[in-house]
Point group: C2
Amino acid sequence: MLVSESTKILLAESEIPSHWYNVQADLDPPIDPALHPGTLQPAGPDDFAPLFPMSLIGQEVSRERYVEIPDEVLDIYRLWRPTPLYRAHRLERALDTPARIFYKYEGVSPAGSHKPNTAVAQAFYNKQDGTRRITTETGAGQWGSALAFACNQMGMECKVYMVSASYWQKPYRKSMIEAWGASVVPSPSVDTNAGRSIREQDPESPGSLGIAISEAVEDAATRDDTKYSLGSVLNHVLMHQTVVGQEAKRQMESADAFPDVIVGCVGGGSNFAGITFPFVPDKLAGRDVRFIAAEPQACPTLTRGRFAYDFGDTAGTTPLLKMHTLGHTFVPNPIHAGGLRYHGMAPLISQMVDLGLIEARAFHQRSVFAAAVQFARTEGIVPAPEPAHAIKATIDEALACKESGEAKTILFHLCGHGHFDMSAYESYFSDAMVDYAYPEEEVSRAMESVPAV
Amino acid sequence: MLVSESTKILLAESEIPSHWYNVQADLDPPIDPALHPGTLQPAGPDDFAPLFPMSLIGQEVSRERYVEIPDEVLDIYRLWRPTPLYRAHRLERALDTPARIFYKYEGVSPAGSHKPNTAVAQAFYNKQDGTRRITTETGAGQWGSALAFACNQMGMECKVYMVSASYWQKPYRKSMIEAWGASVVPSPSVDTNAGRSIREQDPESPGSLGIAISEAVEDAATRDDTKYSLGSVLNHVLMHQTVVGQEAKRQMESADAFPDVIVGCVGGGSNFAGITFPFVPDKLAGRDVRFIAAEPQACPTLTRGRFAYDFGDTAGTTPLLKMHTLGHTFVPNPIHAGGLRYHGMAPLISQMVDLGLIEARAFHQRSVFAAAVQFARTEGIVPAPEPAHAIKATIDEALACKESGEAKTILFHLCGHGHFDMSAYESYFSDAMVDYAYPEEEVSRAMESVPAV
């Protein structure tokens, strides 16, 4: 019964990493460049300038291995970083596995996930470059609340276009966005041409992430004082998340441990990059560490998608990225892990999957929630639906160890708590949760939207 | 702008206190004994035995200064303890005060508040004494979820009688209780005589905390394998919370600081006791430290109540406690700080108020939420409505320092996050929140229910 060993491994504030790790320095071959949506030629810095400050555009294409974290960003990181690394003694015992399981917990941030790691950095660089106001889109609200928090800390305005259906169904994330002083409107809104035109066609439109992106981008592109911010997919966003894996590595070292397997969930790829990228140099140097990406069966971008150039948004207005995609017109079924419902994937992750550096697995949501409940009943923390995919993959690995008798060391990323996702648990406990069959036809149809480049 | 000083003060797991501090050893005169509701004579251990295990009954009347924390309890505390102490640099700057403000944050526990500190201890002693199953009541669900978590960790059954109105209006806490494997029913339920009799009179009864207590107590009293657990008010419950203040004291020492003022909110008194009691020996030894208890104007137990023997529940079936009370039939207006809506107060806190060791202040909820929003917009954490009362009192103190030019050191207890209270913020932002005038007549009427002892 009694554990009496160390449960959490903590670091001092002075041990927050001083640099972000940029995997682009070590990736060979490098990722293919983004293409301009009109010319289909490689997009240059000027193409991105209406939306992003030059400092972030520079980070997007940088090959520098380490990028120093500005003091102003570290200063805000200190509100919750370093985050704890846990040894999952109780889960191990429940599984009766010889595997050692560790998890890095990012739910201690004010917004409750890893998202503020990049939100704070993006707000800082924008402020430094003279941006007064930032726009973004949000679905369930996790990213919108992180950016609201970051802009508030930096003394900047923030406007969040929140998918209308979520805005009305999930008022709590909206209230959190307002608590941090940002303004939030249901999208489609009357504030943009994109929004107004959709509302003219369909006054009752529930909105979509694609529409909300169009609104946020239009708002930023048409105002001099305003830029746009994205919570995942892009190279600089993934780089900002590497504080997670760097801390975890140091924490595991202090426990004399090194992971045989690292597990994270993937939507756009940022939390997965955060935990795994700092271990890429070890892997490239021949160290035996596997990276497992866990995704939903309802949106199996890595396991069933094509590695090709495609648009980032539904309307097809963004630059084209070379990535795993289910087709930019694909609309996933409404699984509870809203953060994993994206047709594409970060180009860096996609490239590494293509190179065989990352394995991918897909799971149905009922099995994912069964894992989440087992975790809550052993380790105590109630996880968000997204990292519950990583928990499911971790449990499978640990049970395979039980079978084989191997005492592997598994590290997974618990990137957020489930306090705003309890209606999903409600659905699971009341047996109302459904597993969606792989949408064969819908994906085939959407795949036709992938442009021939 | 830049803080660049230490923001959080962390302790190692090895620095979790090894003992609880029992203020009864130092309180002179001691508190008056509980009285049997039938005989009005001092209640003995046997009177409590149907509801509590003997080990906890022993703690209730113990005068031992330090009680060792069992290894099994420490083991579970390690899932979130020690909790961080923050220096509120950003709030200080926003207030432009010379005061130094520190806060101890208990929202990092799995249940999101300080409540698991006693829930785990109570579950442990019950298990040790052969209890198989524990019952309790819960209003908004904070205590019910903490006990569900604790019983789950100890491998015990837990049944929560949740006030029916909350059960249906706040399904998320209910889902959290279920996530930890406890059973939860809306009260009044069909599972007890008390519940059935209320339902016969009023099939649509929304329930009340008083009714839920009656159900949980009846369930425990009528089953051999079952005991009852309370989340505040009683001496042993308050004692279990002293890990909070002991850690805070050590953390402040490591910052070369000692509080001039300690602030906490008060409902039943447990979070306030947790942060202040470990400083009582310092105060009694002549050290200049003030204790400020912050309560709602809608339920001003300490500022307007009478210090007298009264019942703990609405129906008048519990032993009588000598405490500040508004009368046990008093039903407070529905303020959002559900955890502070209690007619009575812990006898230990009441005695200390009577002795002049604790000052009390009452606040209207709109001013409390203004303080909560200022806190969220400076320190980042979105606080629960209950500790927002402590934030309001802290800001008032800090502004008084600005006026007087004194650089006082203020410590307050941020006993929980507001992730399950966002509808209260919604109400505040939409200007729907009302301040209730002091219910003069209702209190006068309820005061007549205080028995003449």
